[in-house]
Amino acid sequence: MLRTLIGVAAVAGTLIVVVFQLTLPTIKANKAEALRRAVFDVLPGARKVVTFKLEEDGSLAPLTGDDERAVKYYAGYTEDHQLIGVAIEAQGQGYQDVIKVLYGYAPAEQHIIGMKVLESKETPGLGDKIGKDRVFLANFDKLEARLTEGDATLQHAFEVVKHGAKKNPWQIDGITGATISSKAVGKLLNASAPRHLPPVQKNMSRLKEGK
């Protein structure tokens, strides 16, 4: 009895390991490709991407290879190597589960210039509009993210307002019927931007150089 079970388990284990090893390169490539496409989406006009990593002393250094734990900044450049902006990953609690987004930040204009939902389990038809609703996504085509003097934090935190009530450039026009999910996006951006935008401003020369 024991021998049969061990035999079945051994065959099963071998099969899983073989398939895992065979599919691993493709899966990794798929994930990298999905992220690359998202980076180009949130940095309109970008043609090239250089990945930077945040060092402990607050400086940015180009990342070679892969480091899963590093905080990554994806700098996007035009054909003739002009910096367009930096894409940063952010996540926060949504209505159902964690929402993961990627947003593009243009350091020269101090604006958010794009946002894409990478992962969310928001209610289909309601909360998942945060990734589909064109009016909502248009908020992030040009959303003010100006830093205070000395690049310490945001001058104005992002604020999600009722649909149609947007008055200031740092306010996000929410989605009717998806209040919690829209607010969750504002909240996760508020958590990420004050932490990640100052290092971008402080390392502008590095980023412009692209090396």
Partner: protein, 213 residues
Amino acid sequence: MRQETLTAAAAPEIGLDTFLDGIWKENPTFVTVLGMCPLLAVSNSVQNALAMALATMFVLVMSNMAVSLVRNVIPSQVRLVAFIMIIATFVTVAEYLLQAISLELHRALGAFVPLIVVNCIILGRAEAFASKNPVIPSILDGLGTSMGFLLAIFTMGAVREILGSGSFLGFPLFGDNFEPWVVMILPSGGFFVLGVLMLGVNRLNAWLKAETR
């Protein structure tokens, strides 16, 4: 399940009928009412429904084949453990393959791919059919049963996507004036559609029975 065993034992020749039974007479969804969880959860669009059906088909056919191959060496006391281990292996394989084929599809199906392990259709067929029959009929049985599941989940997916999103396989069907019935792609819509479909299938079967009599 006992009845299925009897029919399998009573029919000496196993061929086309083994395949066809799973599609209609013993349809896993409408007749034996198994595998409701994935059926209701991921039938909100045609694409998700098809991906789920194909993943289930892969697991069901492979596990039926494997169970049938080892049916004579597994002691009956530990057969369920062994079956679940075999099924779990193929589910894991299916998950890696799906991730390699399309990450987006894998994301859309979410937790429901790993949950194929506990899909009663699969363990049901392993126990009721594959553990008592040779390899070829077991594969046919797996194919037939999963075709039955595909038929059911595809119909649900089509109805729910057409009404709930106004599209089919992602292509919009109606003009901008169409107001989607959002409820159809929510869980409650799944129950509505399943109820209506079951009513229809049962009515049809009752009518067919009366006709043949």
